[in-house]
């Protein structure tokens, strides 16, 4: 009786998970400081000051999205999963036909006021549809081959369309989300072992026939940076120099030579963590990594408290989106993974990533918002 009364008294503001929002805000602040440095080069010629202001606009939009998603009952996404998936898949196919081309890749649809990148929303929609399908799985021994067919097909189609654009990074992310969610729901050991064996056979084939030369070059560089037969090791190396030279406390705000003198490529997007590490050193870098891990930990905790299987799985999916972006991006910058075009959520410049990340966090926030509803 007493608990019921309590529920009704909770207002919007009291039901929000303020700890979660505070950590997000802290990461936002670090992001803006770093982006300011990355876009205001030592010499006017390197500056892209406009991007900094655009990013603040994206950030405000991101928060609006976060609160908006918080207010939506996540069961809505359960019901709408199929239709959202269908629409998004069509958009993804359209990109290949009429998409806007930039730097040799077609990724966007021109929608009047803004550009829409379907592969970006697909990350979330994939989480919805996989959560919907997987929530019906409750075999204690895990999923067998037959159970995996539909989820795999649902993932493979958008992933293939994305890789075709070509956007290897986003394609990889989609697949990683799928793998995370399926593993979470549990897969039979025998299935896992067979998949591993098949993978070992097919990877060389994909390598030979499926990848563009520049994609191969990136992976080859990662595997043997000393030889780097295609010269692509330059980005990696400059990034390592930037990170390493930051030492303990860094060179100071806007004082990184690597970042400010144009040695670092893509320093406001994919390589923004090297700017942060160069200018704020081990302390700045680890603080940020710590905040991210703490944020993910909180998100996982909230997902674990959801009341239904769909809620738990959507939470796991949202966490996996963020997790893979953060880990792949940072590991790429510090030379633990090949250079793939994956931005660092909440920190890298870019509207699409900002909205996706804030929407993912909005889902978590929505789960938290509704955990008192009983």
């Amino acid at each position: 009786m007493a608990t019921d009364l309590q529920v009704e008294e909770r207002t919007f503001f009291r039901r929000l998970d303020w700890n979660l929002l505070a950590v997000i805000f802290c990461i936002n602040v670090i992001g803006l400081i770093t982006l300011y440095s990355a876009t205001h080069g030592a010499s006017a010629a390197f500056s892209q000051t406009r991007l900094f202001w655009l990013q603040t606009v994206y950030l405000v939009m991101g928060w609006i999205v976060l609160f908006g998603v918080t207010l939506v009952d996540y069961q809505f996404f359960n019901r709408a999963a199929y239709i959202l998936y269908a629409i998004n898949l069509i958009a993804l196919a359209l990109v290949l036909v009429i998409g806007r081309s930039e730097l040799g890749a077609r990724r966007w649809l021109e929608l009047g006021l803004f550009r829409y990148q379907p592969s970006e929303t697909m990350k979330l929609v994939l989480v919805f549809i996989l959560a919907k399908i997987l929530s019906k799985q409750n075999k204690p021994e895990g999923m067998g081959f037959l159970d995996l067919i539909i989820p795999t097909l649902i993932t493979i189609v958008p992933t293939a369309l994305t890789v075709k654009q070509p956007d290897l990074g986003t394609g990889l992310m989609l697949f990683a989300v799928f793998v995370s969610m399926v593993l979470f729901v549990r897969v039979r050991t025998s299935v896992l072992i067979s998949v591993l064996i098949v993978g070992m056979v097919t990877v060389p084939l994909v390598w030979t026939f499926g990848l563009k030369p520049y994609q191969k070059a990136r992976i080859a560089t990662f595997i043997s940076p000393d030889k780097h037969p295609h010269g692509a090791g330059y980005n990696s190396l400059q990034s390592l120099i930037a990170v390493g030279s930051g030492e303990i406390i860094g060179k100071g705000f806007r004082k990184g030579t690597q970042s400010q003198l144009d040695f670092l490529p893509e320093r406001h997007t994919d390589f923004i963590f090297s700017v942060l590490s160069e200018e704020h050193g081990f302390i700045g870098g680890m603080t940020t990594v710590g905040l991210f891990i703490f944020l993910l930990f909180m998100c996982a905790k909230i997902a674990a408290q959801a009341h239904d299987r769909f809620g738990v799985l959507v939470g796991v999916g949202a966490v996996s989106i963020l997790f893979w972006h953060v880990i792949v991006n940072i590991c790429m910058v510090i030379g633990l993974l090949p250079v793939v075009g994956v931005p660092l959520p909440l920190i890298s410049y870019g509207g699409s990533m900002m909205i996706t990340a804030m929407a993912s966090l909005g889902i978590i926030s929505s789960l938290a918002y509704r955990k008192f509803l009983f």
């Binding site: 204690p140 979470f184 563009k212 295609h230 400059q238 303990i248 030579t257 905790k301 009341h307 510090i334």
Partner: protein, 658 residues
């Protein structure tokens, strides 16, 4: 309550699995912590030193572009080494002084250097070197190298430059290269769709063969890694964190053309050195062998592509070329479409003979003018030619004869044959900017002008004036159909792609589009016998007493051809031919002449478009004759009768005859 209970139970199996998530997060944290610890704290000092003292820079090693060779492997387009002076804005710490000193040596106003460095700094970024002067003299190189040490940012580099030894000869065919600008990047991406990433500052083919074969000719630039100090000067590497090996450049492939350099030079020479009343020609020349292989290709007026490729062109020269009304940048062999005039008559003849309008022996009255549809249609010769058969009609180029053919056949009937021999379509030669020309039909006119075909238009089109438009290359291929007894070839210009040590990578063979004497993909067939009649008529043009080109002969070699005049300004009938030389130069008619030789076993077809030369048999004939003679002097000297004087024509006699 029970409802909630089942849902809660539902989740219970999932919750424990979150511990794997927590473990994973903890593991990742530890890994990143260790890596950052290693990079920033253990190795940090070394990286710090590296970033401060030794700044690593990528520097491209330019790949040499493939050469363009003639049919015998002689160089038509070459690479040479030159020196250039650049200033890198990023390191030019006292630019004003540098500009002063450099400007002094190179005779460039210092303000201009400063302005260029500033504007490039904005456009291309401060680390991109700005070209101050290319093609430096030895003296300049020497003096610049002496002061270089005191002027940060200044560099004197060796560079590979494109060199066109033939200069203006064939310039439109070979094309030229230029530096790719930032603005053009998107265009190149779209155009090549290959994995060749063109970067700003790359040399790219911008016209002619250089453009259309750019992906083959262009090599892949190499890369070396150098360490530069804070002033942008290269410093010797003492200790390197990572051993960086340079990537060697991959040279581009050579193109082996079917062009014969000797004949190419001769053709250009003949076009420019005619000492008759017309003088140096403007227009075009093309010579092909009977397999459609291009032997010579000239378009005039021309320009010196070296000035473009070596960046030495002055603004004045550029402007003059741009504004030249005679269009030096236009490749008039394939980009100029003109009314073929009487040179179309062999195509009319195919239709007339094949459709049975006339037989080879039918005599038709060919007076000096003809009344049709309420007006007079004129012949070039007001006296007329009496009764002629089709061979003679070609010989004397009787307009009235072909007016009658035009009326009897109707435009659509001739159009079938015109299309079958390739008119109104691209020839498919792989060069930029080829135009298709036009052969009209009734349907075409209705679609384009929404007007019905007029009977009178049958007459003008039959003598190649109305709507019909052709290119010189198309006409040469049409004449080759007659020469080979029915074979329409696809023109061949590049016969092989060659690797950088002369190994053949790919060869291209002549291709027959169709043989019109046999059943083919067009809906017409022209019998061999009929083609022979036309050939005989064309032989009479060169060899008959009344032939419009009989003043130019080669002892020992019989030629066959056809003259034509392209009226591009409409004058009233009485003015058409009489006053041509009295008109201002740019209003004079274009002369066209094409011929092949020898008549029995043709080897070569040569066509000339002599713009503003008034008459095909004035402007074109001597040049075609000379080029054909040059060809046989080289390839079959024993066919020529030596020591026989070549009859020189009296110009007066020729004028009233076409």
């Amino acid at each position: 309550m029970s409802e909630f209970g089942t849902e809660e139970e539902d989740v219970r199996d999932l919750v424990p699995r979150f511990r794997y998530v927590y473990i994973l997060l903890g593991f990742v944290f530890v890994v990143i912590f260790c890596r950052l610890w290693y990079l920033q704290i253990i190795e940090g000092h070394e990286f710090q030193e590296y970033s401060e003292k030794n700044l690593l820079k990528e520097r491209r090693i330019l790949a040499p572009r493939g050469l363009i060779l003639d049919t015998q492997g002689r160089i038509l387009v070459d690479n040479i080494i030159g020196f250039k002076a650049t200033i890198t804005p990023q390191y030019a710490s006292h630019l004003t002084e540098t500009a002063q000193v450099v400007g002094n040596i190179l005779h460039i106003p210092p303000e201009k250097i400063i302005a260029e460095v500033h504007s490039s700094r904005w456009k291309n970024g401060p680390s991109t070197p700005v070209l101050i002067k290319s093609n430096l003299t030895h003296n300049e190189v020497f003096r610049l190298k002496r002061i270089r040490i005191f002027q940060p940012g200044l560099n004197v580099n060796e560079t590979i430059m494109r060199y066109y030894p033939l200069g203006p000869d064939g310039a439109q065919l070979f094309g030229y290269v230029g530096l790719a600008s930032q603005r053009e990047m998107a265009d190149y991406d779209r155009k090549y769709k290959t994995n060749i990433a063109i970067q700003q500052g790359d040399w790219v083919g911008q016209s002619g063969l250089e453009e259309s074969w750019d992906p083959i000719l262009r090599g892949r630039d190499g890369m070396k890694y150098i360490e530069v100090d804070a002033h942008g000067r290269e410093s010797p590497i003492n200790k390197s964190l990572l051993d960086l090996k340079p990537r060697p450049p991959v040279p581009g492939h050579n193109l082996v053309l079917t062009i014969d350099r000797d004949l190419q030079k001769d053709a250009m020479y003949e076009m420019l050195h005619q000492h008759d009343r017309i003088g140096p020609r403007i227009g075009a020349l093309v010579a092909i062998n009977t397999k459609g292989e291009v032997l010579a290709w000239v378009s005039l007026p021309s320009y010196d592509p070296n000035e473009f490729a070596q960046g030495t062109i002055s603004d004045d020269t550029w402007e003059a070329l741009e504004k030249d009304p005679y269009k030096p940048f236009m490749d008039k062999v394939i980009q100029a479409q003109f009314a073929p005039g009487s040179t179309i008559k062999p195509v009319d003849s195919m239709a007339a003979l094949q459709e049975g309008v006339v037989t080879p022996t039918t005599l038709i009255s060919a007076p000096g003018k003809m009344w049709f549809g309420g007006r007079w249609y004129h012949d070039a010769d007001p006296a007329g030619h009496g009764n002629v058969n089709i061979e003679q009609a070609i010989e004397v180029s009787s307009n009235v004869f072909f007016y009658k053919m035009g009326i009897a056949l109707g435009i659509d009937n001739i159009a079938k044959y015109a299309r079958a021999v390739g008119l109104g379509q691209l020839t498919g030669i792989k060069l930029p900017g080829e135009v298709p020309g036009l052969y009209p039909t009734k349907a075409w006119k209705m679609k384009t002008f929404d007007e019905p075909w007029l009977p009178g238009e049958n007459l003008s089109n039959a003598i190649g004036q109305g709507y019909v438009l052709t290119t010189l290359l198309q006409m040469a291929l049409v004449y080759n159909v007659v020469a080979t007894g029915g074979k329409l070839y696809k023109p061949l210009l590049v016969k092989a792609i060659e690797g950088d040590h002369g190994n053949i990578i790919k060869t291209f063979k002549p291709q027959i589009v169709r043989n019109i004497t046999k059943p083919n993909d067009s809906n017409v067939i022209v019998s061999k016998a009929n083609l022979d009649v036309i050939k005989q008529g064309m032989s009479l043009v060169c060899n008959g007493n009344r032939g419009t080109a009989h003043w130019w002969k080669i002892p020992g070699i019989l030629m066959a051809g056809k003259t034509g005049t392209s009226q591009f300004v409409s004058f009233s009938a009485s003015q058409i031919h009489k006053n041509c030389f009295d008109r201002p130069f740019w209003l004079r008619d274009d002369g066209i002449y094409l011929a092949f030789a020898p008549v029995k076993h043709p080897q070569i077809v040569v066509g000339v478009l002599a713009q503003h030369s008034c008459w095909g048999n004035l402007g074109g004939t001597p040049i075609v004759r000379d080029v054909i003679r040059d060809y046989f002097e080289k390839y079959h000297p024993n066919w020529l009768k030596k020591g026989t004087a070549i009859p020189i024509a009296s110009l007066k006699k020729i004028e009233n005859n076409e």
